[in-house]
């Protein structure tokens, strides 16, 4: 029996795009029932239209085929509801009444303007837990700033300390700030549920994405508050460890991280490189000396690493007990034997136009001895209208039809024509290419996840 640890917890999910949906996806992976509400006028656009399977937008219902949406919304139920209508608000409140958590990531003024702020929802369901996720928080002089992941990361201090000293500060290129916001929202929601379990009381939670990121660099901040020191960008250098660098390996754009923590590991590395003379070289014989002479040291090491395949080299280094990790590309992540054996990817069948695809877990922790709960595929637009409106809320099919006619709900969202991703431009970006396109990716995936991958 697949194990749903949050069985019986129901979440009303108003979140869109990236941050919020990650938070509710984590709760979905833990087995909570997530009811994702989208307006037919304003569906969850960006993720629904990004990464169409095999870069071919289907002719029909292209809003149901976006890969980003599938990943971020697996395990959820989807309904449509226009909250700007009186009828929509009324139905929403009925749904809140039978739920445990409401999660939203609108701009701070939106829920209150709709008349659906916490004070209103509390009247309907006194012990509701409501989580608002925003860039800078729901109060304060800058609360109405337009904020995306870029602003949250940029204003957190994390960007300032990331990147090479001779390059501009570097944002995460994978929406880490969004992840932080959504996942902190999920953490706060569970904290409140525990409190409710003991006291019966609900509450309101205000999560600011920027703050959620700042707390993850607490040690860096402490150097400022204790000693007045501001950390500057230092690439991959570590003040207490050398070697501690990302080294080029054999082959195109291939890298390995090596971080040596003590003398024993250092000596093992010298031996493996066939350069035992370095051990006694005063420039490198102590950690302090290596930190000081790290540039020279890095050159010597890179000469050696660039003659080796990064994955083979990692195995060799690990055999000698040297902390090292090949820097995996997204292709290599999908084909990684460790992740595969641990079941990190779940093969989920998305039906027509898509087929089965490996979908990464958003809650990677496992319960030992219990079978993992595998989430269902992401919902099609308005797929669970009947379940939610009729089964949960007790409406008749006629009432449902009437709501559709009144455009309170809808099965067809306002949506632009599907367009393929311009992989040709990506391969040419800045004259170097923003990434690699592997024409044989389906065969590669089939070798690992089974022959029926992506059979539509």
């Amino acid at each position: 029996m697949a194990y749903k640890i949050l069985e019986g917890i129901r979440v009303v999910d108003l979140t869109t795009v990236y941050a919020g949906p990650m938070g509710t996806r984590i709760l979905a992976d833990l087995g909570a029932e997530i009811i994702k509400i989208e307006s037919p006028k304003r569906p969850d656009l960006f993720t629904r239209m990004t990464a169409y399977p095999d870069n071919e937008p289907p002719e029909k219902e292209n809003w149901n085929a976006g890969g980003y949406f599938h990943l971020l919304n697996a395990g959820k139920k989807g309904i449509s509801l226009d909250l700007s209508t009186d009828k929509g608000k009324e139905i929403f409140k009925k749904l809140v009444k039978m739920s445990d958590i409401v999660m939203e990531n609108f701009s701070p003024r939106v829920m209150d303007n709709l008349g659906l702020g916490y004070e209103e929802l509390k009247k309907v369901k006194p012990d509701i837990v409501m989580v608002s996720m925003s860039g800078l928080g729901h109060y304060g002089p800058l609360r109405d700033y337009y904020m995306y992941m870029t602003g949250m990361e940029g204003m957190s201090g994390l960007t300032y300390i990331t990147g090479h000293p001779d390059q501009p500060p570097l944002l995460s290129n994978y929406a880490y700030g969004d992840w932080m916001l959504g996942v902190t929202g999920a953490a706060a929601a569970l904290t409140a549920l525990y409190y409710r379990k003991k006291t019966g009381k609900g509450q309101y939670i205000d999560v600011a994405g920027r703050e959620a990121i700042v707390i993850h660099i607490g040690d860096v901040i402490m150097d400022y508050t204790l000693n007045g020191r501001v950390k500057e960008r230092s690439g991959n250098a570590n003040p207490a460890m050398a070697p501690h660098e990302c080294y080029r390996c054999k082959g195109e754009d291939s890298w390995i991280n090596i971080a040596v923590e003590n003398e024993q590991q250092w000596q093992a590395l010298c031996k493996l490189m066939g350069k035992e003379e370095l051990k006694d070289d005063p420039k490198f014989s102590t950690m302090e000396a290596r930190v000081k002479n790290r540039d020279e040291l890095n050159k010597i090491i890179e000469e050696w690493t660039s003659q080796h395949d990064h994955l083979e080299l990692m195995e060799k280094l690990q055999k000698e007990g040297i902390p090292s990790g090949a820097v995996l590309s997204m292709k290599e992540v999908h084909l990684n034997p460790h992740l595969i054996q641990r079941g990190f990817f779940e093969v989920i069948d998305h039906g027509k136009d898509v087929g089965k695809r490996p979908i990464g877990k958003q809650m990677p922790a496992k319960f030992v001895g219990l079978e993992s709960y595998i989430p269902s595929r992401a919902p099609r637009f308005a797929e669970h209208n009947e379940y939610v409106f009729c089964e949960l809320l007790g409406m008749s099919k006629e009432e449902l039809k009437k709501l559709e006619d009144e455009k309170v709900i809808g099965t067809v969202p306002r949506f632009p024509p599907g367009r393929p991703t311009r992989l040709d431009l990506i391969e040419k970006q800045a004259g170097k290419g923003a990434g690699y396109v592997d024409p044989n990716y389906l065969e590669e995936l089939r070798k690992v996840f089974g022959e029926d991958i992506a059979k539509k």
Partner: protein, 400 residues
């Protein structure tokens, strides 16, 4: 009786030596759980040796890292690697809800403290085990740290500026692989505590997998398109969305947002450029980024990051200043939200640090200080019925 906090009534034994587990324990403690940091006698937890130190004095009571990751906890010294210590630990387990540990796979079992053993003491025990690679799998015994785990988790490969995608990847600042795992550990531990299924559970969390999970949507780049990105692709996210440009006093991020790129003409006081293809067409910018830069950089360099941001935000451009860790305490929003907190510490005097991850209206997060080494040994061992003589005996043997 104190006030009822979010996690009052929970008792947690925190054996973590690294950041992830300690951070998970910190969150539990800051929300009101009684978290007992179990430290090796004499030298204490390894994080006590980690910089930054108060006034740069290298002392086990003056590490900022240890302080930050152990706020509101109690400290018990106990050598669980010795049999007598392990027996005492088992007694503590009887009265506790959660054990957090981050030893190499198999270590706890070696000391007679594997999950099956502990479950005999307390059938409802939640044990949260955090390791670099998990309890099984081909990499189980691999050596790692934050840096190498971040690379093999797949996040590092994409860490390059969009303008120079072929440069050496750079790790995200601080210890993000570990903090990420710590936050996930907190969530899954809380889920296990809330669960209607009230039997004990052993949680197996890998730092590598935690890192991979943060890649979220872009995992579909490969499984849907065959794409492995090495930086942010402009063709998906637009240019200059992820770009940080120099200005008079630092850097500013240019994410147009709903204001639209044409509003940049108004920002830089060149309304005549509103119809410039570089501002109208994404394709034109992507083709010749240096021309776009030539248009905006002179104005940016004459203005500060806050001047640019304030003006841009009025034009509904989502520009933002790149703030240094030192600029945060004076940020008006941070101040208004009282995000930084102050607390007293016997050795470090007044300590200021970043506060609540989220504002909970009824059961808020609270500040506190880290414990001195062994500060609560008597109290904790007394609570499981050890007499002063028992404790003295253990002390003489170096167990506590």
């Amino acid at each position: 009786m104190g006030e009822e906090r979010a996690l009052t009534g929970l008792r947690v034994l925190d054996l973590a030596n690294n950041i992830a587990g300690s951070y998970c324990g910190k969150l539990l403690a800051d929300f009101g759980a009684e978290v007992i940091k179990v430290e090796p006698p004499k030298e204490g937890n390894p994080l006590r040796k980690k910089a930054p130190f108060w006034k740069d004095e290298q002392d086990k009571e003056k590490s900022g890292t240890f302080f930050y990751l152990n706020t509101n906890k109690k400290s018990l010294t106990l050598d669980i690697t010795k049999q007598e210590g392990a027996e005492v630990f088992k007694k503590l387990v009887k009265d506790s809800d959660v054990v957090i540990e981050d030893f190499e796979p198999g270590k706890m079992k070696e000391w007679g403290l594997g999950y099956d053993e502990l479950k005999k003491e307390n059938p409802k025990l939640i044990m949260t085990s955090i390791t670099w690679f998990g309890q099984d799998g081909p990499y189980k015994d691999f050596k790692a740290n934050n840096f190498t785990a971040y690379g093999i988790g797949g996040a590092m490969y994409v860490m390059r500026p969009t303008r120079w995608p072929d440069t050496r990847p750079a790790v995200l600042g601080g210890y993000q692989a570990e903090y990420t795992a710590g936050l996930i550990a907190y969530i899954v531990t809380m889920a296990a505590l809330i669960s209607p299924k009230e039997e004990g559970k052993w949680i197996d969390l890998s730092v590598m997998e935690a890192v991979t999970s943060t890649l979220t949507g872009i995992m579909a780049d490969y499984s849907y398109l065959g794409l492995s990105r090495r930086t942010l692709p402009w063709a998906i996210h637009g240019f200059p969305t992820q770009e940080n440009y120099p200005c008079k006093d630092g850097y500013v991020n240019l994410t147009p947002g709903i204001g639209g790129t044409q509003a940049i003409a108004d920002l830089i006081e060149k309304p005549e450029e509103r119809e410039n293809p570089l501002l109208v067409k994404a394709g034109a910018r992507v083709k010749e980024p240096e021309k776009f830069e030539a248009l905006i950089l002179p104005w940016l360099k004459e203005h500060t990051k806050w001047e640019i941001t304030e003006k841009a935000q009025k034009l509904r451009l989502a520009f933002a200043p790149i703030l240094s860790p030192g600029e945060l305490p004076d940020d008006p929003q941070i101040k208004a939200r009282e995000f930084f907190v102050k607390t007293e510490h016997p050795e470090m005097k007044e300590v200021t640090y970043p506060g609540a991850p989220a504002k909970l209206s009824e059961s808020p997060w609270k500040e506190g200080r880290a414990p001195l080494l062994g500060e609560h040994t008597q109290e904790v061992l007394g609570s499981i019925g050890l007499s002063e003589n028992d404790i003295k005996g253990l002390q003489e043997k170096g167990i506590v």
